[in-house]
């Protein structure tokens, strides 16, 4: 019965039924066949949405939108250019650096790809990078950026797995920086080998001016992380504060936000949140049916029977999330699989914060996995290239990111050192 339901779901997804509807329809068919009351359908969908921590999702989405239209992404790119533009492969390095900053104020990977790609791809192609190469660099940067807090997928993992969202935010910082350094080294090496241009070194005065210009946007990262850490507010409240802060910057401070634009961003926030939360509700319903059928228990016992211990389970998790994250998008894959996999991880003694960070890192790769990763498609539409062309220059970056994800998975200290230090 559980297999039939998952098979139905898979067939519906392949027939291009939207993922939320595929989940809910498969679950509903099982409910009808098992002769369970039908009111469970709306009840469980609403129960999946009804959580105060989940409110951080629309609020972080809105904050990210406001940061982008408020001229803030441009300031962050200018600072990144002043800092690393002179390194080998200068503009490529700028993309990575700019994404570190931008991702700190934005919660959504596809939004990052649109914002950073929109600014950087024209600059890159002007300076002799091919469109495919430019899009590949933007994609790699944004795949790394999913690890920089705040991130929607961390909020969702935290809510579903009952794990501290604040701890997840802090834990992913070291892995993110590790990946950023890895990608920058790789780009520098490629640049030296293939003779990509580097920019001129910015003077101290230029760096200072760029830093002052970007100071207020960057302060928001401190407000969010510091506020959560010191218990001033919950992650949801931090997200509302971020919205107010972004509004203040884009409106009265930078005067870059016409009211009409603000309204359209608010509507866009509701639609994107509706897409995400509909999947969350539908996955909650499917999870309920699976639990009634005791599928997770059966799966857990068969997985435990496989052996392999912590390391084996981590590798298995990465292997499961890579393709599913590409097909089902980041959040839906997490909503579906975490309730099944996390209890098993806990049983094996894996720290739930560590486990979540590995899943998030894997999502960063899978949403850019050619040819179907959803954020890759966004980056390609921004870059004006076909996914097939981007694949060639993109693979080496993804391979490096995957290797680093395996390192993160096998060495928990890399992830847990910072949250332990900060007393989470």
């Amino acid at each position: 019965m559980g297999g039939l339901m998952l098979g139905t779901f898979g067939a519906l997804v392949l027939a291009a039924v939207p993922i939320g509807f595929a989940l809910a329809t498969a679950a509903s068919i099982a409910i009808v066949m098992a002769d369970l009351p039908l009111v469970i359908i709306p009840q469980q969908i609403v129960a999946g949405m009804d959580s105060f921590p989940m409110l951080a999702v629309p609020l972080f989405i809105l904050a990210g939108f406001l940061m982008d239209v408020g001229g803030i992404s441009r300031r962050l790119v200018t600072l990144a250019r002043a800092l690393v533009g002179h390194l080998p492969g200068g503009l490529g390095q700028v993309v990575i650096m700019a994404e570190i900053f931008f991702s700190g104020v934005s919660g959504s990977t596809s939004a990052d790809a649109a914002a950073i790609g929109g600014i950087m791809v024209p600059q890159l192609t002007e300076n002799g990078y091919s469109r495919a190469r430019s899009t590949a660099i933007v994609s790699a940067a944004c795949g790394m950026g999913i690890l920089i807090p705040p991130a929607i997928v961390m909020v969702v993992y935290g809510v579903i797995g009952n794990v501290s969202v604040g701890a997840l935010f802090v834990a992913s910082i070291t892995p993110a920086l590790l990946m950023a350094v890895g990608l920058m080294t790789q780009i520098g090496w490629q640049a030296r080998r293939e003779g990509w241009p580097a920019g001129e070194r910015a003077s101290f005065a230029e760096v200072r001016r760029a830093a002052i210009d970007a100071l207020l946007p960057l302060l928001m990262i401190v407000v969010i992380l510091g506020g959560i850490r010191f218990g001033l507010f919950t992650p949801t409240e931090a997200a509302a504060v971020a919205v107010a802060y972004a509004l203040l910057l884009a409106g009265p401070v930078y005067r870059a936000l016409p009211l009409r634009e603000l309204w359209s961003k608010i509507i866009q926030t509701a639609v994107v949140s509706g897409m995400v939360l509909f999947v969350v509700g539908a996955a909650h319903l499917l999870g309920w049916v699976l639990a009634v059928m005791q599928v997770p228990q059966a799966l857990v016992s068969s997985l435990v029977g496989m052996g392999g211990g912590q390391a084996g389970f981590m590798i298995l998790t990465i292997l499961v999330f890579l393709p599913l994250g590409a097909i089902l998008e980041g959040v839906p894959a997490v909503v579906m699989l975490v309730p099944i996999l996390l209890p098993l991880a806990r049983e094996l003694g894996i720290d739930p914060v560590h486990y979540g960070t590995v899943i998030v890192a894997t999502q960063g790769i899978s949403v850019f996995l050619p040819p179907v990763g959803v954020s890759l498609l966004v980056a390609c539409s921004v870059g004006g290239v076909e996914p097939a062309e981007v694949a060639r220059p993109l693979w080496p970056y993804l391979a490096l990111m995957l290797a680093l994800t395996v390192v993160i998975a096998l060495v928990p200290e890399v992830v847990l050192f910072l949250p332990n230090l900060l007393g989470y």
Binding site: L14, I45, S51, G274, M275
Partner: protein, 163 residues
């Protein structure tokens, strides 16, 4: 048909105002919760419930607007590669699935409202049926958006998609 399209346009406008208002309410109420706690050291008893209920309505109405915009997350890489005739058939099937489930949301949502008429929320003492009403309402909107929209396979000229 033209009447349906006009009705759909009106409903979309109404939905847009509603979700916009709900997003603003959620943001303001959560901010107020922080503000009241620090400025008046008064933990606000109703703010969490108000924001959660508005959020449920916002999510479901947002989901129905996403149906109107055909924006829901989906995986179309397989159907894209099909021959035009097969592609239209699969698209018609997917369209019918969404329509059927929206109808199911209306029926089961109304049944749930009926079942929970007596239940009241803990802080505001609101009938829970008012929260659950978001389900059948968004179901009705989804059905209208599906029927008034381009429909399955429309917009694709018959010669396209052979590669």
């Amino acid at each position: 048909m033209r009447g349906l399209k006009a009705l759909n346009r009106r409903l979309v406008a109404l939905e847009t105002y509603a979700v916009g208002g709900l997003v603003v309410t959620v943001a303001v109420v959560v901010l107020l919760q922080v503000g009241m706690r620090y400025l008046f050291s008064y933990p606000n008893p109703w703010s969490e419930e108000v924001s959660r209920f508005c959020f449920i309505w916002m999510s479901l109405l947002g989901a129905s607007l996403a149906v109107e915009q055909r924006a829901h997350f989906g995986f179309d890489q397989v159907t894209k590669g099909l021959a035009p005739r097969a592609k239209r058939a699969v698209e018609a099937f997917a369209w019918a699935v969404v329509l059927m489930f929206s109808l199911l949301l209306i029926a089961t949502g109304l049944a749930l409202m009926d079942l929970t008429m007596g239940e009241r929320s803990s802080a505001l003492n609101l009938p829970m049926a008012l929260v659950y009403a978001a389900v059948p309402v968004s179901g009705v909107l989804m059905v209208i958006h599906m029927l008034a929209g381009p429909g399955p396979g429309a917009g694709d000229p018959p010669t396209e998609g052979t590669g």
